[in-house]
């Protein structure tokens, strides 16, 4: 009841997220703040992140859905578009946000980003450089990180 002033849209989205979770994605709102979601994304198959479980946090600001949700990786990840603080370089989270997008679509986009790293639009210069100069090695590092940080407990 503490979140009773929650916009209907957020309530609806939450219900749907819980009742029909997107494949490989789980998002559940925090108990004390319905605008804060704990998210888990499975590393997509055939990507260096396969087998990893990545934790993210997602927050819907007051302006949502007129402003993008704030999303951040909590699990360490080696990815050219994700920096060491877990911030994500994704256009729909910035200028390309549209109110027709939803939490589900945002998370799916992030999942897709894991499948297709884009070193040309980097957030983490070093990783992007690594990716561009020696992709196999970078992918190996990504796998290693996945194994180190995104698997197990």
């Amino acid at each position: 009841m503490a979140n009773s002033n929650l916009p209907r849209r957020i309530i609806k989205e939450t219900q749907r997220l819980l009742s029909e979770p997107a494949p490989g994605i789980s998002a559940s709102p925090s108990e004390d703040n319905m605008r804060y979601f704990n998210v888990m994304i499975l590393g997509p198959a055939q990507s260096p992140y396969e087998g990893g479980v990545f934790k993210l946090e997602l927050f819907l600001s007051e302006e949502y859905p007129m402003a993008a949700p704030k999303v951040r990786f909590l699990t360490k990840i080696y990815h050219p578009n994700i920096d060491k603080l877990g911030r994500i370089c994704l256009d729909i989270l910035k200028d390309k946000w549209s109110p027709a997008l939803q939490i589900r679509t945002v998370l799916l986009s992030i999942q897709a980003l894991l499948s297709a790293p884009n070193p040309d639009d980097p957030l983490s210069e070093n990783i992007a450089k690594h990716w561009k100069t020696n992709e196999t090695e970078a992918v190996e590092t990504a796998k290693e990180w996945t194994r180190l940080y995104a698997t197990g407990a």
Partner: protein, 1202 residues
């Protein structure tokens, strides 16, 4: 949030994209799926199920104890155990003032003990006891159990009957007892000494005896004088009365000494020997017999090895709290423990396992771990000891000769408290424990006092026990009936959420519940206080009363008296040690202090909850001007306890320390952003120029705490405060100022106490705190809790207590919770409504009267036919739902049907859709237009909707499908089609644009112009060009008639037209323009700046006399007193919302009679809605279960379609 499946029948199943998955993905899906499902389940599972699922076994305390024991056993390797967990506290504190130890004492130390700390400890004990006994006893005597036992004896208080039974075998020594008994007669004669002291501190007394060479039995004599029966015939007495006298209850030390002595005899040789040695100085004629006893003991000692049984000397650093007998359980087998043997306690300091943290083990130097204290003791002792402010010493009083597991051992345990807490310069409050559980209402120090049977000499006026037993008189009239009527609302609300349109109305509902709950006082007998000269406006009498009330609350009601009165939530205790000053403990929060907690530390401030429009702002400004001040008082700060025990208490201390470095500020006003301007304006207009300085701290401006503290008034918003707190927590610009007064306007903004916004407000440091709100409770009683937290109202700002005594009872339908909250609020809250009367019974606020009339419109024949057709069609659909039994699953659809009917009452065109032009009326034409636009389109960038897609959309429209708006996820209310063939609410789309005329399509990001939008044709086949075919509906005619007649009078009265549908305003614009009636519009499409402009324009202009206002867009606190005519074009589901609309006009500043006209079309759904409204009121009053509410709702709907 109650589940709301109803409106999820819509687009929830769209997203077919994600279903066909490659095999690999499905595998991953399964694993996530599992995760997710467990997560979801966890919410629904009961606690037991949860435990089962997580494979956790719940153990009772006893079980736990046993398990622990098993686990611990391997560690029970004698000394090793002791060394492992040395009683650090004891040692460090003890050794501090340990003077040099003489060599000969050292020589006596057995080698095995010269091991690390345990040796030191022992040494210290030895030393001290020898110092004590200096003069009377030679050091050589010290070898065993000698003189020290004199004191040991006194440290024992009580025995329990259990022991008696167990000790049966020892009774064999009764012959000795008898002999000893005889001696007892002799000290009796020296009775006068009994008066020596009443001080509970045994040691102090002991010393007196020793010094004066008096028998320590003098105290026994006290007992004897009190109970003369116990006199000379000791023999008989001891034998016969013993079992009776040794009641299981622990007695006050004074009394218990006698019991002790008696018990000692029974217990056996050691005790007896003690006695003997004690007597030694008195008369040597007794010596011969005790000698025998001694021999026996020596023999036993030889068997058991070295026993450590020195007494605990008086330590200047540690004050005795009290001592008592504790029955502990053994956890070891075959170990020896003799009476008077010192036991050492070991405390686990880490919370490594849930229950293990409460375990207090004890061991002896020679045998290692013996047993543990009962859980109830552990629970209060562990946190206390961990605070390193308390230490615990103990010795064995009685133990079975052969220990086996789980046997009872009697320990005499003494508790000491460190002197530092009494001498600290800043006698701030401390808590000896870290509050481990926010929901816990048990506090270690209090439990300890309770277990020690230390009673407060000054009881808290307000105690948890009283609340538990509900004995407290709550100065309440018998209004349980009223309170009870409040309860169903909670139940009801759950069901109500199924109404998509009503979530908003529910809030308004609470307006009336607040009145019921807190009882808007009919009459207030408050004095009036003249406002300061700096206030530039006149106050009404009731406002002067508020000023008086607020000033008094800020002063604290009886400032002088309060300083001498104990804070009602605190109790005063005196511990055994007379050196110690009183300890005050908050019976609710467990906080304790040695500084007298005066009633002045109570919350200064309150809740000004006057109904809307009574001028809370002006009253507050008057207060600010009347009572200027700076900074906050230190002690106020520290007495605060907050919801979030751990952190806040800590932070309070922190800010206490920092107080000196804080800038002293004036008044901080926190308000919603929308009211920032209004506050500034009102502050400026109502105060004498130059009298106060105002600073608006809103975003951007980077001011320092010093700068903002210089101003008399600082204005900010909740958002800014929260953001500052989020970033810098206690170091934020607002928290680094020590305010004189903090005012929260629209204080219900912080109603969720767990939010950062609320926490930010709670942790502001201020002398006085005020909440301004017309709706102290918006949805839930919990809202109020947040306000009480902010106000620091004890004990209610303690979540555990609130939850236990108010929230839970309230939710369970127990009216006592409600009664209690009323009692709490009575002194804290001032709430008047416009109906409140003054002393003479006159209404406090004389506003121009309101003239409310319902205008019943009669539909024209054509209108009626149309309505009829629509109604019949809707009814068919509704009946279908009823027949299928699916009404409750089709709320959304039914509401849509109703919506159309209601709109039809306003104007049939609303239902027919305002097709922008005739040429789109044909759906195939519409399709063509899409394709045309796009093929003609020069900008190749634009996404061209495929033919198939357009076909699909058009087909959907043709079938009358109303799809979900992709932005609000509701059924589109006033849907528009974009040139790219996307459909959404007009309002949603426009509000997503940055400019009012153009923006991107949210779906495909194509650039759209407002003019390109096509009002989406709905399923019906009526197509009209609104402009060309304009025809007034009966309602519109009625309105226009009224507006024109007002215009004709030339009185310059302005009017506000309220409707729920902006599309209706679109229609209204046509006749208004045609008839030359100037108007303004205020709806959700306007951005903040435009809103301000419209409102300003409306109050100033002479040309535009009409304001079309969408009720949804109406923000908080709007002041529309420029108008005096209100037209409510369509009835609301909930009358309270209409009420609110009227309030915006009928409020202070209104000089004219307010004419309210409600338009209702006869014989339509509108008329029946009025009946539903009436029904709704009765539903609020009656207790209905969820099921009943459901049926009631069905009835309601049936009523509408009758």
């Amino acid at each position: 949030m109650a589940a709301r499946p109803v409106d999820d029948t819509d687009g929830a199943h769209q997203n077919p994209v994600f279903f066909p998955q490659p095999l690999t993905v499905i595998r991953t899906v399964t694993s996530t799926g599992a995760r997710i499902s467990t997560q979801i389940k966890a919410e629904e599972m009961t606690f037991d199920e949860f435990l089962k699922a997580t494979n956790t076994k719940v153990m009772s305390e006893e079980e736990c104890l046993r398990t622990q024991m098993k686990e611990e056993q391997p560690r029970e390797l004698g000394v090793a155990r002791v060394k492992e967990e040395p009683d650090m506290d004891f040692l460090s504190k003890g050794s501090e003032n340990k003077p040099e130890v003489s060599n000969n004492t050292l020589a006596l130390v057995p080698l095995e003990r010269v091991k690390g700390k345990s040796f030191q400890e022992w040494l210290w004990l030895r030393y001290n006891s020898s110092v004590k006994s200096r003069g009377e006893y030679s050091i050589s005597q010290e070898k065993e159990a000698g003189p020290k036992d004199l004191e040991n004896g006194q440290s024992l208080n009580e025995s329990s009957p259990k022991v008696k039974v167990k000790e049966e075998p020892y009774l064999g020594s009764e012959d000795k007892v008898d002999k000893v008994q005889v001696k007892e007669g002799s000290p009796n004669e020296s009775r006068p000494k009994g008066e020596v002291k009443e001080v509970p501190d045994l040691r102090a007394e002991n010393e007196v005896h020793v010094k004066e060479g008096l028998p320590n039995d003098s105290r026994t004599k006290v007992e004897l004088t009190e109970e003369p029966d116990l006199g000379p015939d000791n023999k008989l007495h001891v034998k016969e009365e013993l079992p009776i006298e040794s009641t299981p209850e622990v007695k006050v030390i004074k009394e218990s000494d006698l019991w002790y002595e008696n018990r000692v005899y029974v217990k056996g040789p050691v005790g007896a020997e003690n006695k003997v040695s004690a007597k030694e100085p008195i008369g040597s004629n007794f010596c011969s017999k005790p000698q025998k006893v001694k021999k026996e003991i020596v023999e036993e000692r030889v068997v058991s090895g070295l026993v450590e049984d020195g007494d605990f000397p008086e330590d200047p650093e540690w004050f005795l709290v009290g001592r008592t007998i504790v029955t502990a359980l053994s956890t070891s087998k075959g170990r020896k423990l003799v009476d008077n043997e010192v036991v050492h306690f070991a405390f686990s300091s880490t919370n490594w396992r849930h229950n293990a943290q409460w375990i207090v083990r004890f061991s002896t130097k020679r045998s290692g771990e013996i047993g543990r204290l009962p859980m109830e003791w552990g629970k209060c002792v562990v946190p206390l000891v961990n605070s390193s402010k308390v230490k615990v010493l103990g010795r064995c009083v009685a133990a079975p000769s052969n220990l086996s597991i789980m046997q009872e051992i009697m320990l005499c345990v003494s508790f000491y408290i460190h002197h530092s807490i009494f001498t600290k310069d800043d006698a701030s409050s401390w808590r000896l424990d870290a509050p481990y559980n926010i929901d816990s209402t048990l506090h270690p120090l209090l439990s300890l006092f309770k277990l020690l049977k230390i009673k407060p000499y000054l009881k808290a006026e307000f105690t948890p026990e009283e609340l538990h037993s509900r004995k407290r008189v709550l100065n309440l009239d018998d209004d349980s009936e009223e309170a009870a009527s409040m309860l169903p609302i909670v139940k009801r609300r759950k069901g109500c959420q199924q109404y998509p349109e009503q979530s908003k109305d529910e809030q308004a509902l609470s307006e009336s519940s607040v009145n019921k709950l807190v009882g808007a006082a009919e009459m207030y007998n408050l004095e009036e206080m003249e406002p300061p000269y700096t206030l530039m406006c006149d106050l009404r009498p009731y406002q002067k009363q508020a000023l008086y009330w607020m000033s008094e609350l800020e002063k604290g009601i009886h400032a002088e008296k309060a300083a001498k009165t104990l804070h009602p939530c605190w109790a005063a205790y005196q511990i055994s040690d007379e050196r110690a000053s009183s300890i005050y403990v908050n019976t609710f929060s467990g906080e304790s202090t040695t500084k007298f907690p005066t009633a002045t530390q109570m919350a200064r401030g309150g809740i000004l909850a006057d109904a809307m429009g009574l001028g809370k702002t002006v009253m507050t400004i008057a207060l600010i001007l009347a009572r200027p001040g700076r900074g906050c008082h230190v002690n106020h700060e520290c007495s605060t306890a907050t919801a979030d025990g751990t952190e806040i208490t800590k932070s309070n201390k922190d800010c206490h320390v920092k107080t000196s470095s804080k800038a002293n500020g004036g008044t901080l006003i926190v308000c919603p952003m929308a009211l920032l301007g209004q506050w500034k304006d009102e502050l400026e207009t109502h105060s004498k120029p130059e009298s106060i300085s105002i600073f608006v701290h809103y975003g951007g401006s980077r001011a320092s705490p010093k700068v903002i503290a210089e101003h008399n008034v600082v204005l900010t918003t909740y958002g800014v405060l929260t953001a500052a707190y989020k970033n810098d927590s206690e170091n934020s610009i607002f928290h680094r100022v020590s305010w004189y007064r903090v005012v929260l306007d629209e204080a219900h903004t912080i109603k969720s106490w767990k939010t950062q916004g609320a926490q930010a407000a709670f942790s502001l440091s201020s002398h006085c705190r005020w909440c301004l709100t017309g709706t102290p409770i918006q949805n839930n009683l919990e809202d109020l809790y947040s306000l009480l937290c902010f106000l620091h109202v004890e004990p209610w700002c303690n979540w555990a207590w609130w939850n236990k005594l108010i929230q839970k009872p309230y939710e369970n339908g127990d009216p006592r919770g409600m009664k209690l909250i009323k009692a709490i609020l009575r002194p804290l809250m001032l709430r008047r409504t416009k109906e409140s009367k003054d002393k003479e019974g006159r209404p406090i606020l004389v506003l121009p009267p309101t003239d409310i009339q319902i205008i019943e419109c009669e539909q024209s024949e054509a209108e009626h036919d149309f309505y009829d057709a629509l109604f019949k069609r809707s009814k068919v659909q509704f009946d279908q739902f009823v027949a299928q039994g699916k009404v409750l699953h089709n709320y959304a659809n039914i509401l849509e049907l109703l919506l159309r009917l209601r709109q039809c009452c306003n104007h049939p065109f609303l239902v027919m859709s305002r097709a922008d032009s005739q040429k789109y009326t044909d759906l195939s034409k519409l399709a063509r237009r899409f394709l045309e636009t796009n093929s003609n389109s020069t900008t190749t960038k634009q996404t061209v909707p495929t033919h198939a897609y357009v076909e699909e959309v058009v087909e959907g429209i043709r079938r009358g499908e109303n799809t979900e708006c992709p932005i609000c996820l509701e059924y589109a209310d006033d849907p528009v089609l974009t040139p790219c063939a996307h459909k959404m609410c007009r309002e949603c789309l426009l509000s997503s644009w940055r400019t009012p005329t153009s923006g991107l399509c949210p779906i495909c990001r194509q650039l759209l112009k407002k003019t390109d939008l096509i009002a989406c044709p709905s399923e019906n086949q009526f197509w009209v060009d609104v402009e060309k075919n304009w025809k007034e509906s009966s309602k519109v005619s009625g309105l226009l008639e009224c507006l024109e007649s007002i215009q004709r009078t030339g009185s310059g009265e302005k009017s506000i037209v309220f409707s729920q549908w902006t599309s209706f305003f679109d229609l209204l614009e046509i006749p208004l323009k045609r008839r030359g009636i100037g108007f303004l519009r205020f709806d959700g499409k306007l951005v903040q700046k435009q809103r301000e402009w419209v409102l300003k324009e409306f109050s100033e202009t002479k040309e535009k006399m009409v304001l079309l206002m969408s009720l949804r867009a109406g923000g908080v606190g709007l002041n529309l007193t420029a108008a005096s005519n209100v037209f409510l074009m369509d009835p609301w589901w909930n009358p309270a919302v209409e009420e609110q609309a009227i309030m915006r006009i009928h409020r202070i500043g209104q000089k004219r009679t307010v004419r309210v006209r409600r338009f209702i079309v006869k014989d339509t759904v509108e008329e029946r809605m009025q009946q539903v409204q009436a029904r709704k009121q009765s539903m609020i009053a009656g207790a209905l279960t969820d099921q009943e509410v459901r049926t009631a709702r069905l009835e309601e709907l049936k009523m509408l379609f009758r």
